[in-house]
Symmetry: none
Subunit: 227 residues, 2 copies
DNA sequence: AGAAGTTTTTACACAACCTTCACGATATGC
DNA sequence: GCATATCGTGAAGGTTGTGTAAAAACTTCT
C-alpha cells in the first residue's frame, strides 16, 4: 500500500519532532508546518491524507486553519486531528464543530496518537471504498446513495442495519464475529452487548424478505453473507 | 467458549467489586489483588490473559508493577490496562510508555471498561485468524470463511468439529493428545472427559466421507492428520 | 420538553450442540 | 488365544447459542 502522508502543524519544534519520529516509525510520510499560513499552503499544494493540527499557533489560530480547510472545496474532505492542551476544552468542541474528526489532548502518548491516526485513516479508506455499488444475486447496495434494492424493490434500512449488511455483503463468504461487526459499524471499542447484533440481524432479514436468507448464522462464531 | 482470566489490581474494595461484577457478567474469570506485591505473585503463579492495574497503590506503585511485569520474560507479553484518576495525566503517558496497552480514567463506566477489555483480548485472538486456507490433497479448510471442502464438496461442520479438524490439519503428521485438542478448541483447562473427543472424531470422519481416513488414531496417544 | 424513530438490553423458548454413558469392537501384550 | 486396555458408536441428557418480542435507553426533531 502506498504509505499515507500526514501534515503536522505545530509551532513547538520538539512536539513536531516527537510526532514526526513516531509517525515515521509507523510507516507514514510526514510533512510539517509551523504556522497556519504555511499549513494551508502546503495542504493545498500537495494534498495530504490527514492533518494533525495544534490549536495554539502564533498568528493565524488553529481554529481558523480548520475553518479554512473545511471551506475550501479542495481540502474539505481532508480529515483533521486536533491537538490541544487539556485546559482548552471549549476549543475541542469548537474544533469538532468546525469539522475536525478527532482530537488528542496534550500531553499525549505516541501510542494514543498513532491509534487515532490509524482509525481516522482507516475510516477514510473505507469511505473511498464506498463508491462502487455491490450487486449479489438479486440484492444491490449503493453505498454512495445508501440505497438497497432486494429483487428490484427498494428496501428502507436504518443507519445501523445498512452498515451491518454492507460489512457482510462486501466480503461474501467471510465470517464476521459480532464484535467485528460492531467495529465495522461504530469503530473500535464501541461498548455494546453482542446480542444487539442479533436483534439487528433479525430486522434485517425481515426487511430483506426472501433475500434475508443471504445472511447466514455461523453458530458460536458470527454471521456471514452467503457466497 | 474458552473464558479468559483477568487479574484486577486495586486497593479499593468497592472498585474491585464493581469491576469483578461486570467482568464476571461478561463471562470472564476474575482474579484480584490489592497490592503490587500480590499482583506480581499472582500474575507469575497463574498467568492471566490480561491485567487491569490501578496506578494508585499503597506500597509498591502501579508504575513499578507495570515495569516489573514488562521486564519479566514470563509476563512481558501480558496486556495491561491501566486504571487511573483523571488528574494523573502524566502517569498515563508514563504508563503507556512502560508498555501498558490502554488506559481507563476513573470514574469509568463499566461499559467502556468491558469494551476496552474486549478490544485488547480480541487483538490476541484475531492474530491467529485471518490465516490463509489450508489445502491437503482433496481437503480444503478456510478459517476465515469457516468453510471446508472435501473432494470439492462442501461439508458442514459444527464449531467444535471445525476447530478439531483445523488443529489437526494445521500440522499434518503431528500427533495431538486428546487434551491438546481440547486446549486448541476451548482454551486451557476446559473440563471434559477425553472421550468427548472420540465422539467428535467419529462424526468428523463420517461427515468427511472418504477424506475421513485422513484422521488417524494413534492408539493410547491421540490423533493425527495423515501426512 | 415531548414525540417519533432508532438502537440496545433483557428475558425466555427452542433448537443445535456437546458431553456423558454404556456397551460392543478392536488392538496390544503376554 | 486370552486378558486387558483403548477406541468406536448410538442414544440420552444437559448446556449453550440464537431467534424473537417487548421494554428501556438514546437520538433527533420540532
Amino acid at each position: 500500500m502506498a504509505n499515507e502522508s500526514i501534515l503536522v502543524v505545530d509551532d513547538e519544534e520538539d512536539v513536531l519532532e516527537l510526532v514526526r519520529y513516531n509517525l515515521d516509525r509507523s510507516g507514514y510520510h510526514v510533512e510539517t508546518a509551523t504556522s497556519g499560513e504555511e499549513a494551508l499552503a502546503k495542504a493545498r499544494r500537495k494534498l495530504p491524507d490527514l492533518v494533525i493540527l495544534d490549536l495554539m499557533l502564533p498568528g493565524m489560530d488553529g481554529l481558523d486553519v480548520c475553518k479554512k480547510l473545511k471551506n475550501d472545496a479542495k481540502t474539505e474532505g481532508l480529515p483533521i486531528i486536533v491537538l490541544t492542551a487539556k485546559s482548552e476544552e471549549s476549543d475541542i468542541v469548537t474544533g469538532l464543530e468546525l469539522g475536525a474528526d478527532d482530537y488528542v489532548t496534550k500531553p499525549f502518548s505516541p501510542k494514543v496518537l498513532i491509534a487515532r491516526v490509524r482509525r481516522i485513516l482507516r475510516r477514510a479508506v473505507s469511505r473511498d471504498m464506498e463508491k462502487s455499488p455491490i450487486r449479489i444475486r438479486d440484492l444491490v447496495m449503493d453505498p454512495g446513495r445508501r440505497e438497497v434494492l432486494a429483487k428490484g424493490k427498494h428496501v428502507n434500512l436504518t443507519f445501523t442495519e445498512f452498515n451491518i449488511l454492507y460489512a457482510l455483503a462486501r466480503r461474501p463468504g467471510l465470517v464476521l464475529t459480532r464484535y467485528q461487526i460492531v467495529d465495522a459499524v461504530h469503530g473500535d471499542d464501541y461498548p455494546v452487548t453482542d446480542r444487539a447484533i442479533d436483534v439487528q440481524i433479525v430486522s434485517l432479514r425481515k426487511k430483506l424478505g426472501s433475500c434475508g436468507s443471504y445472511i447466514e448464522t455461523v453458530r458460536s462464531v458470527g454471521y456471514r453473507f452467503k457466497d
